[in-house]
């Protein structure tokens, strides 16, 4: 099914009362987890996922993706009003969003944030609509070595481009793959890395890891900072929104540039966080009001928000077409797809067009629903943050542990959640990146299968990864990205230092 007719079919799937209701519920839950400290998008989706096991996959993915959009918006709200990023990807929004709010322009900052976020999201979905057919055709040519090449490229770009110390990124990735290998091996039936412990037979769930690493770890970090909530009150009236909307076309250059950055970082797994920082940096460099950045410049809100959301949405494209998630949240959803019995990858478009196009259509609708809802509910959700942390903190802890237990009904998972929580806290403090660990845990088995299949095809020779132009290109690009930090250091050493 090609783009346009597929999309029309998708709208007929997504536009039912039941699905629109799921979008509203999803977005509201998403804003809630986005606003609350310690509960972000990956975590919220992990907590909700076990409750969708019995749902139809189309309805389930609509609920979960809507929650993701809601969480992205919720994260921006707290960035602007409280100077607390609800999500790592909305850190850059605090730079100018909070100063704007302090200067009495909170409503304007929020409207700019939500409208540009909506714009970025729609650009991301348009890109998916336009490219998915093409990417699928391309990916249908893939066999095991090419898939391994794609995975290699993705993880190499984490090491080379994510901004985290490369060796620490490497540890995160390899640790994730090791954790994915625990339990029954799907090919040979061996009980790997279980050391005779029965509780490890079924493996270590990536959902428990997400809940611990992102949820509990984040909470401990919040506590350590000695959380002070000093919120700015804001009430949004339709007139304010319209007035801000009328100013949006003036910022077309920032909107366009940030969307491109966001889409690029979403499709290559740079992720929304890197996208928002990069976009902020570029906006500052190109702005005529450079000196005003950090003091409340609208472009400083528009740039990270647009990039954040276009990265968030466009991360869905590699997730569906290649089975390769572009962000931690997309990784969790990819895990969900596999649990629902779907097989992410190019065949998904052939076998389940209703699912793929229903999801794409719901992304258009869900983001529109999200912009409207978030504008309407900002005062309500901001008031939640005024509840003392002494109550909110322990309640979030309880929700995390309920979530950890509902994944598989295993008491042992409570210990795992606590362990991952402490690990996540220390990882964050020492700059070990967490997203690649989750990605490796989710696609660990697929990557390993691709490697084993390739080895079987070549009878154990690594030259299969150089056997045709496609896989050679993927591997070469991967190697370049992997050694990018080294190349950079070398270049600096060779160049005479400017006096």
């Amino acid at each position: 099914m090609d783009g346009f007719s597929g999309l029309l079919h998708g709208f007929s799937v997504a536009l039912t009362w039941y699905h629109v209701m799921l979008m509203v519920v999803g977005v509201l839950l998403g804003i809630l987890v986005g606003v609350l400290p310690g509960l972000g998008a990956p975590n919220g989706v992990s907590l909700l996922l076990p409750l969708t096991f019995t749902m139809d996959p189309v309805s389930a993915i609509i609920l979960l993706t809507s929650m993701y959009w809601g969480a992205l918006f919720g994260g921006s709200t707290t960035s602007i009003l409280f100077n607390i990023p609800g999500e790592p990807s909305s850190v850059a929004t605090t730079f100018d969003g909070y100063p704007m709010a302090q200067n009495g322009r909170a409503t304007e900052a929020l409207s700019f944030a939500f409208l540009s976020a909506g714009f970025g999201a729609i650009v991301g979905v348009l890109l998916i609509t336009a490219l998915s057919g093409w990417v699928t055709q391309f990916a249908l040519k893939f066999s095991s070595p090419e898939f391994f090449g794609v995975y290699f490229l993705a993880f190499a770009s984490f090491v080379g481009l994510s901004g985290a110390p490369p060796l620490k990124a490497a540890v995160s990735i390899a640790l994730g793959f090791s954790l994915a290998a625990v339990g029954m091996d799907s090919v040979s039936g061996s009980l790997r890395l279980t050391f005779g412990y029965d509780v490890l037979l079924a493996g270590i769930s990536f959902l428990v890891a997400v809940i611990g690493l992102f949820g509990i770890g984040e909470l401990i970090l919040t506590i350590e900072d000695g959380l002070k909530l000093d919120g700015i009150r804001a009430k949004i009236t339709p007139r304010d929104v319209l007035r801000t909307a009328a100013q949006m076309p003036k910022h077309w250059a920032t909107l366009l540039r940030s969307s491109i950055v966001g889409c690029w970082m979403g499709i290559t797994p740079g992720g929304p966080t890197a996208a928002s920082f990069m976009s902020y940096g570029l906006a500052k460099r190109f702005s005529a009001y450079r000196a005003n950045f950090g003091k409340g410049e609208p472009d400083g809100v528009i740039a990270p928000e647009t990039a954040d959301h276009s990265a968030g949405t466009s991360a869905m494209l590699p997730m569906m077409a290649l089975g390769l998630p572009g962000s931690a949240t997309a990784a969790v959803m990819l895990g969900g797809l596999m649990i629902w019995g779907l097989n992410p990858g190019p065949m998904l478009f052939v076998e389940r067009p209703d699912f793929v196009w229903g999801l794409i259509a719901s992304m258009y609708l869900g983001n529109v629903v999200a912009v409207v809802l978030v504008l309407a509910t900002v005062p309500l959700f901001a008031s939640i943050l005024r509840i003392p942390f002494a109550i909110i903190g322990p309640l979030i802890v309880v929700v995390c542990f309920i979530g950890a237990y509902t994944i598989a009904g295993r008491p042992f998972d409570l210990w795992l959640a606590l362990g991952f929580g402490i690990l996540g806290y220390v990882f964050k403090k020492l700059d070990y990146p967490i997203a690649p660990l989750i990605l490796a845990m989710v696609i660990g088995d697929k990557a390993e299968d691709a490697f084993r299949q390739s080895m079987i095809m070549s009878k154990g020779s690594l030259t299969i990864f150089w056997s045709n132009p496609l896989v050679t290109g993927l591997m070469l690009l991967g190697l370049v990205l992997l050694f990018w930090p080294l190349l950079g250091a070398l270049r600096q050493r060779l160049r005479p230092s400017p006096a």
Partner: protein, 162 residues
Amino acid sequence: MVARWQAELGMAAFLAVIGVITIIGALEYGVGWSPSGPEPGAFPFYMGIIVLLASLANALRATLPLLRTRLWAGQAFLKPEQLRLVLGFTLPILGLVIASLMLGLYVGMALYLFGTLVLQNRYPVLKAGLIALTTPFLAYLLIERVFKVAMLKGPLEAWLGL
């Protein structure tokens, strides 16, 4: 005070041990070539090696500059008051896990909420009790009635016949 380099070194050592454990576990299932392709331990084996080697390198990176400059105090990882805050938050969670495993999650969460609110944050007993009792009740309605998922239960639920 915990210095940054101490934390870096501790983490690197911990991860190196994990790497060694992975390697040992992988060796159990063979890491070479079999007639049906790579043996099951091969992939985790190489992952364990990466974790081990990269952690050793991280340990060196954290300590070498200090050996050269002899500035052992360095950057702080955790100041005493932060440590107190972190432990004050994490230890009750440990209590929550242990209580939940013994008494079920509903009773565990009620005790945990009541304990943290009253003992740690000096909330009035009545208010804390209200929060500690309504939360498990709402969780029960949502999880078991709406989503029909079974929760970890203990003796109290058995006695109540839930």
